[in-house]
């Protein structure tokens, strides 16, 4: 070999070595000798401190196949450093074409290995970030098929990958009419909108959705990423605030009406005294009592509405409850010239429930019926009947009146919050709360009514405990009793 070639061989910025068939190193360049020792050593000993040929030895393979080989290995230097290398081998032939030796070149790939590891680490961090970000993240293709979805998304909407977004988000089989993912594909811009989606278990979730295009190296939109933030709690809070606003308006309206009634009562009492007209005083005083009573029940309704309390469950003796109600309501009925009848079947027994709540509910329904009679200018004889029957698995309570009755609109909105057909006298809370109490007990209420004919409310309360009326175990009892409860 000419001198300058020998010098090139010597100075190459990699490990260069030539091996014979016995895996002995015939030559090694300077860098090789520095890190792996003297020539004449077996390569497996020099590289790896082994006593036998390595599995898949590229030198052996080159001798056997006569072709260059490429592989990656880790070598150990004399001073114990491990160096990842890319190994290239090439056969050296004699004049007859026989392979007499194999040249091996090892390039140090430590830096590229380090970069690869860093890249893998960054990828893993990014994937973790995508996976753990506390909102619903998904990537969708042009066909609206979800390609990737993060953990929170999958936990809420099920195994969504490979499914179209409209099926996953809304359980529908066609694309939504307004689709911001499509808009992001079309316009290449981000979009934001709010909507209601449905979880795999059927929960409605209010989400604020931001959709942004994902472009490839050529700048074309290949996919869109969608980030949906759950704002259900914010919306619920807003709705509660709206309810409070409506409540304030409704209360103020109701109280103004009741104050006018009180003004009327006071006027009749005062002018009755002045004239010595006892009948007028009596009429005025009844008016005062009635309106004070209405204010009282309005305040109780508001308190009940304001505090969403747990039921205080006990065995409620239904006949005793009916007797108590009869006593309370009798006077009110008589004042309005209404006949109040209670028809409780013998042996109705008891049911699991909150006695105070059930009493408030029945007072609301009975007062509603008395009011329906008082508001009917078309009749003279009025009756309100409450009957109680035990029809397993229900306690069935029917409250019936022959008052003014309801049209369809009133019937349909009867249990809605703040709906009142009583003009100035109603807050729209009473029957809403009655319905809420019945639902909490696991019961139902239905109404049958026609204008001019009267109304019939049928309340069914379960005789067996439901989750909400199951007796509380002792250790939880402290947690379920509210302040002052």
């Amino acid at each position: 070999m000419p001198d300058h070639y020998a010098q090139y061989f010597e100075e190459m910025p990699c490990y260069l070595s030539v091996h014979d068939r016995n895996f002995r190193i015939i030559h090694g360049n300077r860098r090789f000798r520095r890190d792996f020792g003297a020539e004449g050593e077996f390569c497996y000993r020099a590289y790896k401190g082994r006593d036998s040929v390595c599995d898949g030895c590229p030198v052996e393979k080159t001798f056997a196949e006569g072709t260059p080989q490429i592989s990656e290995q880790t070598l150990r230097t004399r001073d114990g450093r491990e160096i990842p290398v890319r190994v290239r081998t090439t056969p050296i032939h004699d004049e007859t074409g026989a392979i007499v030796a194999v040249m091996e070149m090892h390039t140090d790939i430590s830096e590229s290995k380090r970069l690869q590891e860093e890249l893998a680490h960054s990828r893993q961090r990014l994937a973790q970030l995508f996976e753990e970000v506390p909102c619903y993240l998904s990537v969708q293709g042009p066909d609206r098929i979800i390609q990737h979805a993060n953990r929170r998304f999958r936990e809420t909407f099920g195994p969504a990958i490979g499914e179209p977004c409209y099926r996953v988000y809304k359980h529908r089989e066609e694309q939504c009419i307004v689709c911001n993912a499509q808009a992001a594909f079309r316009d290449g811009k981000p979009f934001e909108h709010e909507e209601v989606v449905v979880s795999a278990d059927g929960r409605e979730i209010n989400v604020l959705v931001t959709t942004a295009p994902l472009r490839n190296a050529a700048g074309q939109v290949e996919a869109v990423i969608e980030m949906a933030v759950d704002i259900t709690q914010i919306r619920q809070l807003q709705s509660q605030l709206t309810s409070i606003g409506l409540l304030v308006g409704s209360i103020s309206h109701g109280i103004k009406g009741l104050l006018t009634g009180l003004d009327g009562g006071l006027y009749l009492v005062n002018s009755g005294f002045e004239r010595g007209d006892q009948a007028r005083v009596k009429k005025g005083w009844d008016m005062v009592v009635r309106n004070v009573d209405r204010i009282r029940s309005m305040v109780l309704d508001i308190l009940y509405y304001a505090k969403d309390r747990d039921l205080e469950v006990e065995d409620v003796d239904v006949a005793a409850l009916a007797a108590e109600l009869h006593e309370v309501m009798e006077k009110k009925a008589m004042d309005g010239g209404i006949e109040l009848r209670f028809d409780v079947a013998p042996g109705v027994g008891s049911l699991p429930g909150d006695a105070k709540a059930l009493r408030a509910m029945l007072v609301n329904i009975l007062e509603n019926s008395l009011e329906a009679c008082r508001s009917d200018p078309g009749k003279k004889d009025f009756q309100v009947t409450m009957s109680v029957r035990r029809l397993d698995p229900w306690m069935v309570i029917v409250v019936e009146d022959n008052g003014i009755g309801m049209d369809r609109e009133t019937r349909e909105k009867l249990f809605s919050l703040f709906f009142s057909s009583k003009g100035s006298k109603g807050t729209g809370l009473g029957l809403f709360i009655a319905n809420k109490i019945i639902s909490k007990h696991g019961g139902t209420i239905t109404v049958d009514s026609e204008p001019g004919r009267g109304s019939r409310f049928v309340i069914r309360l379960p005789l067996q405990p439901r989750p909400s009326t199951r007796p509380v175990v002792e250790e939880n009892a402290v947690a379920t009793v509210g302040p002052g409860g």
């Binding site: 006018t260 009327g264 008016m287």
Partner: protein
């Protein structure tokens, strides 16, 4: 003062009794009814000089009655006083309701509940004086 006839329309019997007593004590002749249907019948039989009507009534509202009266030949100039316990929000609703009935003149007076006897009588006197000025 000649006896004037007042028609009171309110679904609360207490308020009907109250207005009837006050107005009767002050020389007015009163008919009180609970809804707009009865009010329309009373218009024919009683021919009131002034109508006092609550806004929130079962069925058709007091504003419905206002529009019906203003558009009728016979009652278009009959003074009408609207009584309401509603707050500003609902007052805006009343205005937007009337806004959908172009050309309909609003009520002659609006009385906010609670209403004391002096205010009720003052409103009626103001209407009488306005009518007297217009006639002279």
């Amino acid at each position: 003062m000649a006896t004037r006839r007042i028609l009171v329309v309110d679904d609360d019997p207490d308020i009907r009794d109250y207005f009837t007593a006050v107005l009767d004590d002050h020389g007015y002749q009163v008919t009180a009814v609970g809804d707009t249907g009865a009010a329309l019948r009373a218009l024919e039989s009683f021919s009131p000089d002034v109508v006092i009507v609550d806004v929130l009534l079962p069925g058709r509202s007091g504003l419905d009655l206002l529009v019906t009266l203003r558009r009728s030949q016979r009652w278009s100039t009959t003074p009408l006083v609207v009584v309401t316990g509603v707050d500003q929000l609902l007052k805006d609703d009343c205005q937007s309701y009337l806004g959908t009935h172009a050309g309909v003149e609003g009520p002659d007076a609006v009385l906010g509940k609670p209403i004391d006897p002096a205010t009720l009588l003052a409103v009626l006197r103001a209407i009488e004086q306005r009518q007297a000025r217009a006639a002279s």
